[in-house]
Symmetry: C2
């Protein structure tokens, strides 16, 4: 895995991946950096610089091979293997995320939904019956869980994350309104919706 690529470039990769995926859907086999530039509203030189990180996929007078580039970026993003996902906290957001993960054509597979509310037990979301949090330990013995999604209230997120980490879960996609502080070797991606909303509010001012 090439880890010499800058963080900023990596942050932009999923967007390339998305656009290339759409091009494939539309039957496009190759594209020039200028065409990609127009589609993505990014300068062609930025695109060339970014994609040069992955070796000379672009050829003068030919452009990029869409499928090859898509696969290569997918490989770098770790999208060549299926990641099993379990979700904790099946409120509205949890419900939405569970559907989202199942719906997207990405190699993430929702395999378990957990909550603490006994009234939710057995209710199916995206065909998966909700289980109780206390059942997770048993579940985990026979199911590999690569990613835990936390769509939990703020105060519950950290204790649940610690419990899961102690069992061996190594990656967290956290929507709770708190920064998870986890030991080294555990990967956390925080989605702070309020920060995105504040960014919008900032951009609205003083125009």
């Amino acid at each position: 895995m090439n880890k010499g690529i800058s963080k900023a470039v990596i942050r932009r990769m999923p967007r390339y991946y998305r656009y290339l995926g759409e091009l494939i859907e539309n039957g496009v086999e190759r594209i020039s950096s200028n065409e990609l530039s127009e589609m993505m509203q990014v300068t062609a030189s930025q695109i060339r610089q970014d994609l040069n990180n992955f070796g000379g996929f672009g050829q003068q007078g030919y452009g990029y091979n869409v499928k090859f580039l898509y696969d290569e970026i997918g490989r770098i993003l770790g999208l060549t293997e299926i990641h099993n996902v379990a979700l904790f906290g099946v409120g509205n957001l949890g419900h939405a995320i569970a559907n989202y993960v199942s719906f997207e054509k990405l190699p993430f597979k929702m395999i378990g939904l957990f909550d603490v509310d006994p009234k939710k037990k057995g209710i199916r979301v995206s065909e998966i019956p909700i289980m109780m949090l206390d059942e997770f330990e048993e579940f985990y013995k026979t199911n590999r869980v690569d990613i835990a999604v936390l769509t939990l209230p703020k105060d519950a997120a950290m204790p649940v994350a610690e419990r899961l980490a102690n069992l061996g879960v190594r990656a967290f996609w956290n929507f709770a309104h708190v920064d998870l502080v986890m030991p080294k070797g555990i990967v956390v991606e925080n989605v702070h919706l309020s920060e995105s909303l504040m960014q919008l509010s900032y951009n609205m001012t003083g125009r």
Copy 2:
């Protein structure tokens, strides 16, 4: 409004705002950059550099006045006035976001929910009855809408955004799986959940 601050600093401001808000809740009146550094897992020198952008709020031997800094960052982020929000597409995600906006102690006020499914008409979410998309034009005549939230299917997002922009809506918080391309002067904040998930997947590889 001070627009001389770098984008990277602005991106970090909501996080400061969140931590300072929690300190206020906990009755903390002042804090040193070292203490804040430990809380936020950011170096103290980064904090000093970031906060210096807002003038010398920190005083040697005193630290930062929490409330003052909180208010100042809030002012910069445009959080001193209430922003009226209308949401389009009341599925699970829309439902979650509507509750989220209403629940957060931020100056964003959900004032309208719109969908195209007649079965949803009149159903209340966070006490707001769902209206039909076609009713928006009439609604907009007597209600100021500062931000439109798009929790719509990908294909519906752009046409709805254009329709709203033509009526005068100037800011969009977009959750649809597409980059909105809007005329100059219109502010868009895209939340691409799949990109966050791919980032997580990338960070999981090769550790």
